[in-house]
Amino acid sequence: MDELIQDFIDETFETLDALGGELVAWEANPSDAERLDNIFRFFHTVKGSCGFLNLPRFERLSHSAEDALSKLRDGSLEPSADLVTAILAIVDRISKLTSALSSGDALPDGEDQEVIVRLVEACSGTVSGALEKAKAMPEPGQVTTDSHPQTRAIRIPLDLIDHLMNGVSDMVLARNEVARKMRDGGDNQAMNGAFERLSTCIADMRDMIGKTRMQRIERVFSPLPRLVRDLNAELGKSVTLSTNGSEVEMDREMLEMIRDPLMHIIRNAIDHGIESADERSEAGKSSEGHLSVNARQSGNQILIEIADDGRGIDADSLMTQAVAAKIIRGSECAKLDEQAKLNLIFAPGLSTARNVTSISGRGVGMDVVHANIKRIGGSIDIENKPGHGLKITLCVPLTLTIISCLTVQCGDSMFALPRSAVQEILQADNRQIKVERLGGTDIASIRGMKVPHVTLEEILGLDEVDGGKAENRTVIAIDAGPKQNYALSVASVLDHEELVIRPCPPLLMENGLYAGTSLPDNGRPMLLLDPGGMAAKLDINTQAELSILQSDDTQNSAKDTISVLLFKDMEKRARVINLGVIERVEDIDAERVAFSAGQMRVSCGDGTRPIFGLKQVPDSENIKTLILSDGDAAIYYAIDDIVDIFPMDTEFEKAAEPGLVAGVTMVGGQQAEVIDAYWIFARHASGSTVSSAASRPRCRVVGGDDIWARHILAPLVEAAGYELVADGKEGSAADIYITMEDSNDTGVLPAGAPVIRLASNRAGETETGDAIYRYDREALVEALSKNLKQRKSA
């Protein structure tokens, strides 16, 4: 009998949540007979089971609901908001009774009658007041939920599944041991084949058992329509809800963890995200607000988006409040970017609600949501469109039990570090990191960012590290949360693997350093470190100053050094060049290189690009080149080989005269010439075909569309930086005109346009005074370039 009652309780609980949603959905669309049938069936089942189990109170409640529903089904009763509310009250009552039944508490009888009476009144429609009240209430929200056909299922106690999981883990470990023994025992083909099969089976089994822990997110989504309806009624708002992706599956424990944060965000959205109907129409939006909740899987993470079309967050007012609540100092405000301002919403003790309501805005909330999500290894992302809505994305791992980890060495032991907190892994001898002693602690500068530096041995209270090996260590940049950045130095990083994590016994949790235990395939237990706990032990969450300091520092350090590439040129001389001007490194075919038109050129498609660093075409098949770019022109630089990339001081010894080599710097005790990229471009870029013709000023030769103009004058004009446009085309306006002194086409010249007149002989030059003899190259080029300069300065 007890077992039957337990089954009844489980079943009832499970359906109750979904039932609320069904009712609200049906209210929005009363013609949906199938939904009504579902609801009816639930009450009918409850009534049936109650009679059998001798639970008269359940029977009375479900009977009254069934009564009302059957009237609705045969059409003798019209659905109304009041009626639905009354049925929902019955649902609530049944839910309360069920919990009382499962905990063995007694529940007073009186209220049963009350809800039944209310339902009967609603049915008979005698209470006209109720109907009016119903009309005054906002229109019920339109609800769209996707429903799924039921799959066959049985109920299994969680214990049994946990046992199964343990069993499978044992099997995996036993398999690993067998594998080790087999490796030691030499080759045995027949054994190996059989062992492979066994391994595959065990792996499959492990996956399947893992799946038994998964549950549809529907479990969390199904009570949402009810929640939204209740909030609508309470706050006098009209918000519709749509959910999507309820078939997404995640670990059941994880589901429990996201339930409260999700509810909280929805309450927030309806309470102060979405405006009242009046405000909405003023802002030119539809009077009905909309809220959408979507879930989807992305890799081994689940993304849950909660988007509303309300007023969004006023980041500046948020900041003002944060200052008022002494969360940040006024002086810090200017340094915050938009996202940092928004993130203030997660600070404890801050509320955006203008009025505290019973639903939200008590200042406890988003910080708790953030903490909860963070604790399960997730993150929250806010996308704010002021005036148009807010989208909050919860990003949580698929399961609590399998975490992507780095394994690190410390003394003789291995520890795991959750990958989600790791920002960057650096070798201690990397030039990007510098550790300094400051007031008894260590500070690390990583790319100009200053963070506390600590060794794992120090945190764990183990013996001091052997000083001589410091440069062989690895530094892990950790981001354990806002203002919880630090650099953790470990003896070495061993691996990156997915670990099954079990909760830690309280005895080991006390110090706050460990978040769980794991048993990797080698069979030696390993502890999972808690990056947040370690931060707390370091007492670094109070170090707000340090993070402010870093932004200035980044700029300074950027000024002091530049990244340069060290290479050997064709004569094997060590040279360095600013990394920024290198577009890419390319091995080119030696056949593409030729000495033509006074310099070495590389054929590229239809044209050529200059290449330098080559005296002649080498014998080898390929030439290694650096392709330099100033964003516009591209130049090839032939080199022998690339050596290294390192940060170079911008101060170096300058060469006596400007040229290809700007100066000399020391690299590891050797001299290296510093290449002047500016000089290269100044020298070579003018001839490159990269600068586009369209951007050049246009020159039109009027009345000169003859062989001389096209073939003899044109190259000169183009070399001076102009584009020659064809004569005679209508509308081909130009920036400068060249006209023959003896031509009669002066009528086409626009008034005021710059004109160069050419004389066909020396005599013509003197007659008019301003004409240029057509073979006076220097004068012509000067006239053209003078005009070009005027244009540029204009």
Binding site: C410, I459, P503, P506, L507
Partner: protein, 144 residues
Amino acid sequence: MNSLYLIATMAGEDIAIAADKVESVVKVRDIVPVPSVNSYVRGLFALRSRVLTVIDSSHFVTGKPGKVHDAHMAVVTQVAGHFYGLLVDSVQDVCTAESTESDLPANLRGMWREIGTAMLLVDGKTMLVVDPARFVEAEFTKAA
């Protein structure tokens, strides 16, 4: 009274542990130390796929670290969903008690008072009944 007790030697003294609180008795080797926790926590030990927290019961009682040798005997017990291994000097037998549990004298020394719950007559000898959960919880209450 026919309840069963596991008789073991702990810190040189014979004690009794109610058999229903004992999962198994195992030999532990290759204990992985856990830094920065209570010194009587010896480390972690993998018993098949379970991870046991190994407690040096002698250290707990006497305050001095006990000598742990290879294949040391440990009593495996489960407290609040977690598994623990209590290191004991040796394990004698599983016996039926000859008396019911009776109240302890008030003058027990030191930590014995924390772990002992009653005394009992087994095999003609009076023994302290030890509750394995106390090793875990005593520290808990102290810390709180």
